[in-house]
């Protein structure tokens, strides 16, 4: 069906307006970050003498390098561990059909709606009791636990959509359950696994409340938590604060731009199927 010129124009006009509104905050802090440190910036203003000095200041004075490294360390542990555990469990629930599997799956599904607020209080006090607070492991293990519901749901859906014959053929050939998983199912799961990986990376990177509660040592905080703490000290130095904000956003932004299709399709599919 032919789209009329005017409706096409309206469509693009509306979307462009929305895009500008969406991008405006990012553009304004980028402009602010390009100002020299200490400049009094109030709103959107084109820097007269653009400089990267504020980024340097944010990186060194507030040791954002450390913060990024902590975030990376945690994500580097969370993503593989969660993926492996979720995939194994999803295999059990989706393919192996363990007894009581549907009940177990429902218990996992419950976790999809539980807010982080429900678990932070005891997590803090209990982990403190065994000396795990102020270590990345507290955050890593907690995040892995939190990611199980989505991971299991996601991979289970994927495994269940694999044709039964393929699995049975492997079983007939005498394959153990593990070999079936490794040689037959996983090679077919590339897209599902990589989408899950980028989603886990994003959720781990952006986690704030959990890190705020479990880690007090400034040297071990992750980037968003560090940013939250940073605000007070430099809240009058807008360019440095803006630069710090951008530094925190940059890794996840770059990952997003490279893998954008996976991010978007993952979030959409995950949401709809849930």
């Amino acid at each position: 069906m032919k789209q009329s010129r005017s409706s096409n124009f309206v469509a693009y006009a509306v979307m462009t307006a929305m895009a500008i509104i969406t991008l405006l905050p990012f553009i304004s802090i980028l402009l602010a970050a390009l100002q020299p440190p200490g400049t009094l910036v109030s709103g959107i203003s084109i820097p007269q003498h653009p400089s990267l000095e504020s980024f340097n200041e944010a990186w060194t004075t507030a040791s954002f390098g450390n913060l990024l490294w902590s975030s990376i360390k945690i994500a580097a542990a969370v993503v593989p561990i969660s993926m492996i555990c979720a995939t194994l469990a999803a295999y059990a629930l989706g393919t192996l059909k363990v007894p009581g599997g549907s009940a177990i799956f429902m218990v996992f599904l419950l976790g999809l709606t539980l807010p982080v607020e429900l678990i932070v209080i005891p997590l803090y006090f209990d982990l403190r009791g065994i000396g795990l607070t102020n270590t990345p492991w507290a955050v890593i293990l907690a995040e892995c636990g939190l990611f199980m519901p989505f991971g299991i749901f996601w991979m289970r859906t994927h495994f269940m959509s694999t044709p039964r014959e393929v699995i049975e053929a492997a079983e007939l050939d005498g394959a153990s359950s593990f070999t079936t998983l490794r040689r037959v199912l996983l090679p077919l799961s590339g897209p599902a696994l990589s989408t899950m990986a980028v989603l886990f990376f994003m959720w781990s990177w952006n986690q704030f409340l959990l890190v705020l509660v479990l880690i007090q040592d400034p040297n071990q905080r992750t980037a968003p938590a560090g940013l939250g703490f940073f605000v007070g000290q430099h809240s009058s130095d807008v360019p440095v604060l803006a630069a710090g904000t951008l530094i925190v956003i940059l890794p996840i932004l770059l990952t997003y731009l490279v893998f954008q299709r996976k991010f978007i399709s993952g979030m959409l599919e995950g949401a709809v199927k849930g």
Partner: protein, 317 residues
């Protein structure tokens, strides 16, 4: 055709395992072992989930029955903390504010998303990848970064007022986050900004899956564009709307990052939300029991609303 292939298989491997595997002597043990080995696969995920989600969740419920400052011995008080949640104006206020945020996070975002999906229609257009990437951006970056940016934009001479002055609306400019009446809506609008794009992309992808024949039928009944939307598009998007509602409502109720970084409850506790108070009460206020009760109440509310949304949308399909 399926029957033929199984016959072939049976002939090839010389057994009847497809249906009668349990008939063969060693097979039943193998099947049983295969089914129980599943638990081994479940163990890692199950342990993580149990230890770091389920047990803490139940522990919170347990803690909510005590009066505890986090250091010395706690005292059993039963359901007193829940009464506190219902009666204390500060705590009740936080729940009310969360509900207000739903209007902005969920209501406005979904309306904007639907409106844009309606304007775009079902036509596939070029360049959508770019727009999709842009619209999803607010969902990708940490909420803390979003909050810091908007807090700066809402100041007296910040970007928001700059734009208002540029379009001649000088009279309503103010330090938005300092207003007792408008700070909460201001925070709410941040949520609208962050979630509208997601809703739009969701609805658009759903709309593009609608069968053309439905539209043709409507057109034959003489429906114009608006009626088309309400009669065909909207009902077909029921599933997507349910998803959008769930995501946005949970985001509003469980919000913490955005409020902590923009107003921290100011001015005068008009922007407090349950998440913020849970943090404040448990870790500075030394009222772990009340904080736990608040967390449990919040969780029950979230689960209740999610179930409600699912029920409402399932009934009519």
């Amino acid at each position: 055709m399926a029957a033929n292939s199984t016959n072939v298989v049976r002939e090839r491997s010389g057994d009847t395992s497809v249906r009668g595997s349990s008939d063969r002597p060693g097979a039943s043990r193998r099947v049983r072992r295969a089914r129980w080995i599943g638990y081994a696969y479940l163990a890692p995920a199950g342990t993580l989930y149990l230890l770091f989600v389920l047990v803490p969740g139940i522990h919170t419920v347990w803690l909510s029955l005590f009066r505890w400052d986090g250091v010395t011995v706690g005292k059993w008080v039963g359901l007193t903390n829940y009464r506190e949640v219902a009666e204390n104006p500060l705590l009740r206020g936080a729940m009310v504010h969360a509900l207000v945020l739903i209007t902005f996070f969920a209501g406005f975002s979904i309306i904007v998303g639907l409106l844009m999906a309606a304007i775009l229609g079902r036509h596939r257009r070029s360049g959508m990848t770019f727009y999709r990437v842009v619209f999803f951006l607010p969902q990708i970056v940490p909420m803390v970064a979003v909050g810091i940016t908007w807090r700066w934009m809402y100041t007296e001479n910040g970007a928001v007022n700059q734009i208002l002055r540029a379009i001649g609306l000088d009279s309503i400019t103010q330090a938005w986050l300092g207003s007792f009446t408008l700070a909460l809506p201001a925070v709410g609008l941040i949520g609208t900004w962050a979630l509208s794009g997601l809703c739009f992309v969701l609805f658009l992808s759903g709309a593009q899956k609608i069968d053309n024949s439905l539209y043709e039928a409507a057109r034959m009944d003489g429906a114009g564009a608006v009626r088309e939307f309400f009669a065909v598009t909207l009902p077909a998007l029921r599933g997507e709307i349910a998803v959008a509602l769930t995501i946005t409502v949970v985001a509003a109720l469980a919000s913490f990052d955005i409020v902590y970084v923009t107003t921290n409850g100011s001015p005068g506790n008009t922007t407090t939300v349950p998440g913020l108070l849970v943090y404040r009460l448990a870790f500075t206020g030394g009222q772990v029991g009340v904080a736990s009760a608040l967390a449990v109440t919040l969780t029950v509310l979230i689960i209740g609303i999610v179930v409600l949304i699912q029920r409402l949308t399932r009934e009519t399909t």
